[in-house]
Amino acid sequence: MEDATLLDKYREHGDVQALEQLVERYRRPLFGYILNMTEGKGDADEIFQEVWFRALKKLDSYSHKSLLSWLMRIARNLIIDKSRKRKPEVSLDKPVGDEGDTSLIDLVESDERRPDEILTGAEIEGRVMEAVNLLPEEQKDVFLMRVKADLSFKEIAEIQDVSINTALARMQYALTKLRRLLEDDL
């Protein structure tokens, strides 16, 4: 059953089961995005719940084409609000070290590992997660929306309030960095 049909059943007839179907339909992509953009499952649980609470309050005025895009936009705003209340974000591109001429990504790439070392599947997975978490927030944001939620670049651009070209460029930068970070592992 389509999103619009389920939404109508909930809005017009108070059919909670219809809404629960929508929650379940978008549980993995939405929670996957939130979980990987936040610090720990506790934060992710809290934001996931708040996303739906806010969506329920505004459901009468909802008119977006894509429910998932709308939910992702709410989630992104909540994540930004939460991160602002915490420590300043660290960018991979921000110079570090005494000379100020080294970036975190360089440090990651120089991570000591013997050439003959063979990574297991679990280790490769760990390296991928680590590499994704080292991406700058905006690139990670696009990467997760594309990979976990399967959103189009038009939808991502609307959520981030940027042009499609900017969203696309962020994805390309993210992939370039991930290629460099993982080139010995894949």
Partner: protein
């Protein structure tokens, strides 16, 4: 003729179906014969597939899902939504304004103590006292006032008369009074 770099820049949009048809065809033809771009695309897909698989998304706890279902329940939702503070403030402000208007009107009419006004006419009778509880009762009382045969002094409750002055005018006109005639006056 697109270069390999340009083709590689189009691959992501081609994957989501957001590339214009003519460019999508160019990319497709190029990819059939370019090993470098095929390798680039394979690596990109490998990273994205691996990340999609290993990045956690197991879902929120059951308690969170239950809380959302509870909030979605219309009955519960109606119960937990508090009366908005802004609306309470607006109502309080409106009440204060109404009281202020009544006080100002009292002052403007120079009402004697007790909030009662004496009304005299030379031609109309009076009832002793009119106490209006609501608009309808006041209207009936005013109507009986102007149609009575006696011509004694009568006291009219100001709070009813002032708020219904327009109605009183209409009633007086219905009874044939000239509102600009000095045959009656408010003292």
């Amino acid at each position: 003729m697109m270069t390999c770099t340009e083709i590689q820049g189009c691959l992501l949009l081609a994957e989501t179906g957001e590339l214009p048809a003519d460019q999508a065809e160019t990319v497709r033809v190029h990819m059939e014969s370019c090993a470098a771009c095929q390798s680039f695309d394979a690596k990109t897909s490998q990273i994205m597939n691996l990340a999609g698989r290993v990045l956690p998304d197991e879902g929120p706890s059951a308690a969170i899902l239950a809380a959302i279902s509870d909030a979605a329940s219309p009955k519960l939702h109606a119960r937990v939504v508090p009366f908005p503070l802004s609306r309470m403030m607006s109502m309080a402000a409106a009440l204060v304004a109404l009281i202020a208007v009544i006080v100002l009107m009292n002052n403007a009419l120079n009402v004697p103590d007790g909030g009662m006004v004496s009304v005299t006419t030379t031609t109309q009778p009076r009832v002793d006292t009119l106490v209006a509880d609501d608009d309808l009762q006041t209207a009936v009382a005013l109507l009986s006032f102007v149609s009575d045969e006696s011509d004694d002094l009568q006291e009219l409750d100001l709070s009813a008369a002032s708020s219904l002055s327009a109605l009183a005018d209409e009633l007086l006109k219905m009874q044939g009074f000239d509102l600009y005639d000095d045959s009656y006056a408010i003292n």
